[in-house]
Amino acid sequence: MSMFEQLTNRDQVFEFLAPAASPVDVRHGPILYLEDVNVSFDGFKAINNLNLTIDDGELRCIIGPNGAGKTTMMDIITGKTRPDTGSVWFGSRHNLLTMNEPDIASLGIGRKFQKPTVFEALTVFENLELAMATDKRIFPTLTAIMKPEYRDRIDEVLEMIKLKTLRDKPAGILSHGQKQWLEIGMLLMQKPRLLLVDEPVAGMTEQEMERTAELLTSLAGKQSVVVVEHDMGFVRSIARKVTVLHQGSVLAEGTMDQVSNDREVIKVYLGEEA
């Protein structure tokens, strides 16, 4: 996937000239760090003393029953939901709980939502254009021009997500699966340090799943990836370390094999025959 890396780095001639868009400090350990996080909604505890660390460059799978709090966890990381207590750090410098969504996003945390959300009135191309990692302040955005290399990049991604033919169609007309792909494409455009991917393969065929798996594995290393998924086949194919969430806290953590043989996990999640 060096082609992909090349793409993402095309405007970085020298490493030290790279924009200070993501000054994440990972010298002292993990890229993401959640400690004792609690959230409740009207008395219902959705996240219960959650502790989680993601290392730089790691690919982590998170599984767990419906309602375990996986999406809520992502909401917390991206600033959508404020936890009642606990701390959330991005690298060792950024306390995410003091920041709002755009700040967190510009730090380099990107997210694909469980329910595909794209800008329906904009074309597929424009959706990708907006996601592109550029200066997102007002005046730069107002005066931004579409450089040929940007265009190439977008076309590259379009190719990758198989939406080339729908390039100039409004995203609103896409089918469910196509929207999923578009969201993945937007995530790629964003070049985040940390990708949070909520159920990427729902509604995909086996082969598409394979491609997605390849894509995610290739990203890992350079970027950190957190994947939430219920499809065990898919998880198995990418998993290095798996965390199982249950009732808002970590139930088990380990390799896929360790986890899938855990009695508790089988009981609450996998079912006997999985």
Binding site: V118, F119, T123, L130, A131, R137, I138, M146, Q190
Partner: protein, 373 residues
């Protein structure tokens, strides 16, 4: 440059072409056709057209925030009126000692309310440059403060609409108060000159009409420039999925604030050009119903097209002029029916009708391509 980019668009070229031809034709017919000729355009008509153009600019400003940013402002009349008052204050000061009481400094209404000095906020309005800056600044500042508060707290949708309405309503009541020092219900009127030109002369009127036309052209270009830029696409993104836009790293509230302030300033300019042409500014311009009406023009013309707003504003106001003259007792029926019929039969307004036609001819031109440097 973002401002010149729209000049390469066909639709903008057509729009500007039509606008400037209209300006030239009207000017020609007014100046060179004999008074009794059927083709002569009277000063009355020139001023009337000038008023329509002011409304058109105002409608463009509303369409910018409503059509592209999804902010249904039911209080844009407030910005229009503030621009109007700033201009009105300048015009009042130009009256000088020609007022009924002959006071060289105080406007008549202050004399008769027994004020002995000019309030501080009237200072400087005797200077045109200052007044013209205020035309932009007063509405801009109000929009900035109001927008800052509202967007920061993520007030959206109908909640935002209703507080814009509350804003203009509160201002209306405030300006009604004589203590405010803006002439109360009577407002500001009886203007004489602007920049040394007699407001009661036909030439000045023509000049104002042309100035309004040019202002509309510039305003349209600014709006078009914004909406065809990447910022315009971000606006649309905010409109359709505000939260999602934030997750991409855009500060939605700043985008909203920027566009809102630009729109308010354009509305202010429209108000400033309106006042010398109609000869009065009074708090009724702040009335919530007027602001709603502006939205109605935009909807009727076709939302999120800009030129639709222009068409809507001109058409509705032309219809009003015609109907109130032709059938004074029943014109509201006609206007009401117009609104109903357009909504039911032309879902995308009049612009939608034009687009449909156009679509049949040349298929799509993607906005992404227009952005090419």
């Amino acid at each position: 440059m973002w401002l010149t980019r729209p000049l390469r668009e066909k639709s903008t070229q057509i729009f500007l072409g039509v606008l400037f031809s209209a300006l030239i034709v009207v000017t020609f017919l007014h100046l060179f056709m004999p008074q009794d000729s059927a083709l002569h355009v009277s000063a009355y008509t020139v001023t009337l057209l000038g008023k329509y153009l002011c409304y058109a600019l105002l409608a463009v400003a509303v369409d910018l925030v409503w059509g592209y940013l999804g902010i249904l402002s039911l209080g844009h009349g407030a910005f229009f009126a503030l621009g109007g008052y700033a201009m009105g204050m300048y015009l009042m000061r130009q009256i000088g000692d020609r007022g009924v009481y002959g006071d060289p400094v105080l406007p008549d209404f202050m004399v008769f309310l027994n004020w002995d000095t000019l309030p501080w906020y009237w200072q400087g309005f005797d200077m045109a440059w200052f007044a013209f800056i205020m035309v932009l600044l007063a509405p801009g500042l109000l929009a900035l403060v109001f927008g800052f508060l509202a967007f920061r707290s993520r007030v959206t949708g109908v909640y935002l609409s209703i507080i814009t309405q509350a804003l203009t309503f509160a201002l209306m009541l405030a300006f009604f108060r004589n203590e405010m020092g803006f002439g109360g219900n009577n407002g500001l009127t009886d203007f004489r000159d602007i920049l040394g030109f007699n407001l009661r002369s036909d030439a000045t009127r023509l000049g104002l009409f042309i100035a309004t036309g040019i202002a509309l052209a510039i305003g349209y270009l600014i709006c078009r420039g914004i909406v065809t830029s990447k910022l315009g696409r971000v606006s649309v993104a905010c409109r359709d999925a505000e939260a999602r836009t934030r997750f991409l790293g855009y500060r939605v509230e700043r985008v909203q604030l920027f566009v809102f302030v630009v729109s308010a300033m354009l509305a202010g300019v429209a108000g400033a050009l309106y006042v010398p042409q109609v000869g009065i500014i009074n708090p009724s311009e702040f009335s919530p119903l007027f602001s709603i009406e502006i939205v109605v023009w935009v909807a009727l013309g076709g939302r999120a097209t800009l030129y639709g707003a222009v068409i809507g504003a001109i058409l509705v106001n032309y219809a009003k002029t015609v109907f109130t003259g032709v059938m004074p007792d029943a014109w509201l029926f006609a206007l009401g029916a117009l609104f109903v019929l357009v909504t039911v039969f032309l879902p995308k307004g009049i612009a939608g009708l034009l687009q449909k036609r156009k679509k049949a001819k040349d298929d799509d031109t993607a906005t992404g391509q227009e952005a090419t440097a």
